[in-house]
Amino acid sequence: MSPFYKLLIVVLIAGVVVIAYDLFQAKIEKGEGDPRIRFDPATGRFTFWKPEVRVRIVYASMFGPGEPVMRVRDDWIYMFEEDYSDVLAGKLGREVTGEERTRFVRETLKQAAEVRGDLSERLKAIESISDASKKTQQTEELLVWLEGRHVFLTPLEPMAGPEQKLRALRDLITGLDKLARDADPARLVRVAPRLVSVERRWQGRWVLSANRPRFLTGREVPDIMTGSKMELLALVQDHYAVPLNVPLAGEELSPLDAPDTYGDPGRTWREAFLPKMLKEGKYDFLDDPTVRGKIYLAPLTCSTTILFYNEVLLARAGIDSPPRTWPEFIAVCEKLKAAGITPLTADADVYSDYWQSWLIFRVMGPETWERTISGVPPEKPPAERGSDPPWTDPRYRRVHAEIRRLRDSGYFDKDFPGSTWPAAQRGFAKGSAAMMICGSWLVQELSGYKGLATAEGFRLKCFSFPQWPGGRQRDQTAAWAVPYGLMVCRQGKATAGAIELVKYLSAKDWPDMVHKNAQISCMVDADFSPDLAGIKQDFMNASAVYSRTPDIYARRFGSQVLSPRYRAFFLQEKGAGDYVSVEQFLKNMDEQNRRYLSDGGEEGYE
């Protein structure tokens, strides 16, 4: 036979294999027909179920399996699937008969017997290990293995030590034995049809772009998307998002006005959020009447930009408490420099925008900046607006002169222009510099470097951005926070279920997780993270919270014109023009802003 035909056969076989594998992938992966066992270590109760999925919620998230921060805990998802299945079973009239129950339990126990055998062997092996870290690792692997065999231990504290987990596993074995010996095991076990499944898709930072074809085509659209206010703006603009303060079709109450079923049923869901954060879920700045007044984003956490410092280094320079005002801050930098400690560090121009936005915030107030960039009056179309105050206003000059001074006084690490993220924060953790400006997520990122403490030591503290003497009082105490949360998508197939899941997560999972990972929660019940104690007062007592930066209300202008030019200015580079001087920078920005407005603002940008 000619080799050509041989190749043809190879092609056909390969094609068939791949198609078949694709088709059955889901079935193979999940072992869809197999029963599941859940064991609650606290109560010792078993739940058996078999998936008969009627409602499939697709949850597209930035944070996935390898990441502890803001990853939705698997066990919360299982419990939600269970709870919501019960609700649905009630609605759909799907109850489990006694006959069905007994038979199912018996079959499941047969399967469980196999697992139990392997499990006790492995458990013995682990218990004989003396090395603590190895034990932790092996315990984790064992739990993962169990999940692969469809046995879930939930809820389990993620931060629980290996001893607790091992005890839970031993209890599991005891429980299975008891069931096996019992005459009528079905009465000890809860059997429920699992009608809900939550498909978690982890797509990393590119969750929006990776799902774009789904939005385009309308197929397999995720029901829930995670993201920050800026990232999810695109969804709101294209009317893909479901507002949470509008009743769904066929319902009387909007989701926010419905009771907070999973948190405190006596209050509405709206009351579970901090009011000043909930209103940041609106996108009113868009020139779109249909969007006004609707809350699209359920803000579950937020991040703010603060100044972090290494207490040890500051103490070494003789500084006891962090500065409160800008002149004090400059004085602190001088003192550190005199003591031979590098005051500030950064990764080239990453995060450098914060100096500008915070200073403008403090000196003039955030609305001033919006009035400059988007122009006034807002009712008129952009072409007829003007910047008020313009970029050439003396206050902007003051702000940028201060930034220039900061840069020129040699406060920054001399290597900083060439370092790429995350070198600077790594260096900060090693004690190479005293302070750095960053978002509050830095705490969690630095926790990975805990082993880096040098001989001098490293103690992370933070303080809010210094106040500007002579600025408006309200601006000195207001806070700036970027909300991050969940958005429900209109084209998803399980909108009602998705909203339930969002409610569930807001009550159960995120406050806890967020606190433990040093994020700032937007929920009323959550504690403020102790790592961020330095800003707690200022944040909780803030007179107002703003989330509007140019990258939200003037996204294209901000990222295409403002940010690049500012960064060139900050790094003292000749960008498109010579930005070494403040005057030239402001003049150029003024010109660009005029052009931006006369071209039609954001919409006219393309």
Partner: protein, 301 residues
């Protein structure tokens, strides 16, 4: 140049059609059709999230011509093509000449090791070099510091493009070297002997015998390099991620930022596609220029 007479068919399409059919169908449906329809996209305003596109005529191209970042990106591409090309061909020719010489030990070993980086994934190469370029603890700066100097800022905004060139040269020189080596090996020995009799030294032999006979091959290699340097994306994106300074953008990364970036969330698909169209046109022009240099008659061996 062909060997053997091809069969003349006149107007009958039969056999060629059969032979070309599967490739043409696959190519046409999954490659050509989208590529051509993207020409339409480049004339529209589109966020990429809804199927609706707004036709705008040549406005995207007009805006591009006024976009300073685009011009900076083209400049970077041309810089890579020219300066990078010179360095690239310098090394490729050098190595090919070295591997062609008589006195060499471990020829196969060198060939393998120089050729190998061409086949590693772009992500792998970029991760590798990112770690090496690290200013505080990367290999290069470590060795420089060991030798006493301060160490350079390899990835800061002024020097990143040059660092990228070094990386691309390292990764790509193997393939071109093999190509050139093949061309060199085809040159009959008598030419060299004649040159030696005439008293030419090694460099002279190289320039007067080797190079002219390798013209075709060099031109092919040149066009492949030009195409590659205009299209380059993965190397820069993976090396300089997550945020690429404006001075270090090339056309493909800028286009990616406009169209897909989750950080900047600009989502201007129309303008991004227009950029890609301009990129393709530039490459076609350059390749066309190269073709002009090809001799009509091929060199007889």
């Amino acid at each position: 140049m062909m060997v053997g007479k091809p069969k003349r068919l006149g107007g009958w399409w039969g056999p060629p059609a059969i032979f070309l059919a599967p490739a043409a169908v696959l190519f046409g449906v999954l490659f050509a059709a989208p590529a051509v329809s993207s020409l339409y996209v480049s004339l529209c305003k589109w966020t990429g999230f809804t199927p609706q596109m707004e036709f705008r005529g040549v406005r995207n191209f007009v805006k591009l011509s006024g976009d300073l970042r685009f011009w900076a990106a083209i400049k970077n591409n041309l810089w890579i093509m020219s300066v990078g090309g010179i360095i690239f061909f310098f090394f490729a020719l050098l190595f090919a000449a070295a591997l062609n010489s008589k006195f060499l030990r471990g020829r196969k070993f060198f060939q393998t090791m120089i050729f190998f980086p061409a086949f590693i994934s772009v992500v792998g190469v970029a991760t590798f070099w990112k770690l090496i370029y690290d200013p505080k603890s990367g290999l290069i700066n470590l060795s420089l510091r060991a030798a006493g100097s301060e160490g350079l800022q390899w990835l800061d905004s002024a020097h990143a493009i040059n660092s990228v060139i070094i990386m691309m040269v390292w990764a790509g020189v193997g393939g071109t070297m093999i190509l050139l080596l093949a061309g060199m090996r085809r040159i009959p020995k008598d030419y060299y002997e004649a040159a030696e009799i005439d008293g030419a030294s090694a460099p002279q032999q190289f320039f007067h015998v080797t190079m002219p006979m390798m013209r075709e091959v060099i031109l092919i290699a040149l066009s492949l390099w030009m195409i590659g340097s205009m299209k380059v994306f993965g190397y820069i994106q993976a090396l300089l991620a997550p945020t690429i300074n404006d001075r270090n953008q090339v056309i493909s990364t800028l286009q990616y930022q406009y169209a897909f970036s989750n950080r900047e969330c600009i989502f201007m698909m129309g303008r991004a596609t227009a950029m890609a169209v301009v990129q393709v046109c530039v490459v076609l022009v350059l390749v066309g220029i190269i073709r002009l240099f090809r001799e009509k008659k091929s060199v007889e061996y």
